[in-house]
């Protein structure tokens, strides 16, 4: 029911054992050369060049490839060559499992077909953002996956509202937030009304009635909903080649003045209209 990668799907469904998967991953680790190793094997640089670049990385927040170009060790054309060779020779986990004798090629094709069907529910759909912004495809995917989780986790019918740039402080009964770091930096927030918080709690706790639950538990359920969405966003982003780390969620109780967009950030609001006039809101504070 979650965004998965193929190896996880196989182990979870008992199609291969953990031990066999680890063996295949070990084979991948041997065969899939890292960027520096590949450039070395292609004769574009020396061990000393890699050492120099690794040392420089300690003081410069740059990817190794960009740094090698920046330091004049590789040309841009050579870097492209290395990346292309990495892609063309990449051993995927399914192929690695065939090579270690865990499954046959026919079984691989069958499992891949079933895996694609399992994951089809998480295929991204296009969402219109009101402005041009860096990494827009990641934020579109984030909103799309949020909508999908409203259906899959909360089992609520909804209508997505128009995404808008936030120009005034955000208000709401309770908000749960999670910070993304890594290749992109942003704060992900879900804002809910009191009645919607109870709907979230019912779904997360799998209880029909949550009227006697303490506030602490109700707040925790919204944080858990955010945790589920953001973890799956990070998984989807990793499939798209973007690293998104997540941190533990927090609860925010906005004051009457509301929650302002932090300096140096762009705020996007995605209203999610649910049932009889209730609106949940996805808010993204994206670092510029």
């Amino acid at each position: 029911m979650a965004v998965k990668f193929f190896g996880q799907y196989l182990v979870e469904n008992n199609l291969v054992s953990r031990e066999v998967l680890l063996k295949a991953i070990e084979l991948q680790d041997q065969k899939n050369l890292k960027l520096g190793e590949m450039a070395l094997s292609m004769g574009y640089l020396t061990d000393k060049d890699i050492e120099r670049a690794h040392n420089a990385q300690m003081s410069k927040d740059m990817k190794l490839g960009d740094l090698l170009v920046d330091m004049g060790i590789l040309t841009l054309a050579q870097l492209d060559d290395v990346i292309t060779r990495q892609k063309n020779t990449h051993l995927y986990i399914g192929e690695a499992l065939v090579q270690v004798g865990a499954i046959t090629t026919d079984q691989l094709l069958q499992h891949l077909k079933a895996f694609k069907a399992d994951q089809a529910q998480y295929a991204s759909e296009k969402i219109e953002l009101p402005i041009t912004i860096a990494n827009s495809s990641i934020w579109e995917m984030t909103a799309d996956l949020t909508y999908k989780m409203v259906t899959r986790v909360l089992d609520l019918q909804f209508r997505p509202g128009k995404c808008e740039v936030i120009t005034a402080p955000c208000t709401g009964y309770v908000m749960a937030a999670m910070d993304f770091s890594g290749d992109v930096e942003a704060r992900y927030i879900i804002s809910v009304s009191a009645p919607l918080q109870k709907e979230v709690a019912k779904a997360i706790l799998r209880e029909k009635n949550v009227d006697t639950e303490p506030v602490e538990v109700l707040d925790d359920t919204v944080m858990e909903f955010v945790n589920i969405i953001c973890g799956n966003v990070a998984a989807k982003a990793s499939q798209l080649g973007t690293i998104m780390e997540i941190n533990p969620p927090v609860t925010i109780k906005p004051t009457d003045a509301g929650l302002a967009v932090p300096d140096g950030h762009t705020g996007l609001s995605f209203p999610i209209h649910i049932g009889d006039g209730e609106t949940m809101e996805l808010i993204l504070f994206i670092k510029n």
Binding site: A2, F5, E12, G231, A234, P248
Partner: protein, 119 residues
């Protein structure tokens, strides 16, 4: 009946897992630790057969705790429960550190029990 320790900073996830475990008939929940450090202590005091542990927790996180648990107790069986299960690197790291399996959130009761019964 096998004893299960639940490790999660989230009260609601702990409640979900405890309910699934209690209703299974095969397992009994022996406690709830809120972070990795507490999990290590409770593994010593409660001696569970299986630990279901979150990956992303404040204080000592799940992977750090897993690293210690497998050194301190060679028989421990840890299953990670995480929303990050679909991140290939995280899944692989958990297995390499000694986790027996990884359950992704959102999870279904049957998936949790199927994985616990395999251990």
């Amino acid at each position: 009946m096998k004893k299960v320790l639940v490790v999660d900073d989230s009260l609601s996830v702990a409640r979900q897992l405890e309910k699934i475990i209690a209703e299974s008939g095969d397992f009994t929940c022996v406690g709830h630790a809120k972070d990795g450090a507490e999990a290590i202590k409770m593994n010593h005091t409660e001696n569970p057969d299986i630990i279901c542990m979150d990956m992303n927790m404040p204080g000592m996180d799940g992977l750090t705790a897993l690293r210690s648990l497998v050194v301190l107790d060679k028989d421990v069986k840890v299953v990670m429960v995480t929303s990050l299960g679909g991140v290939g690197d995280k899944f692989t790291e958990a297995l390499k550190l000694g986790a027996k399996n990884v359950i992704s959130k959102p999870f279904e009761s049957e998936t949790v029990l199927q994985i616990l019964r395999q251990l």
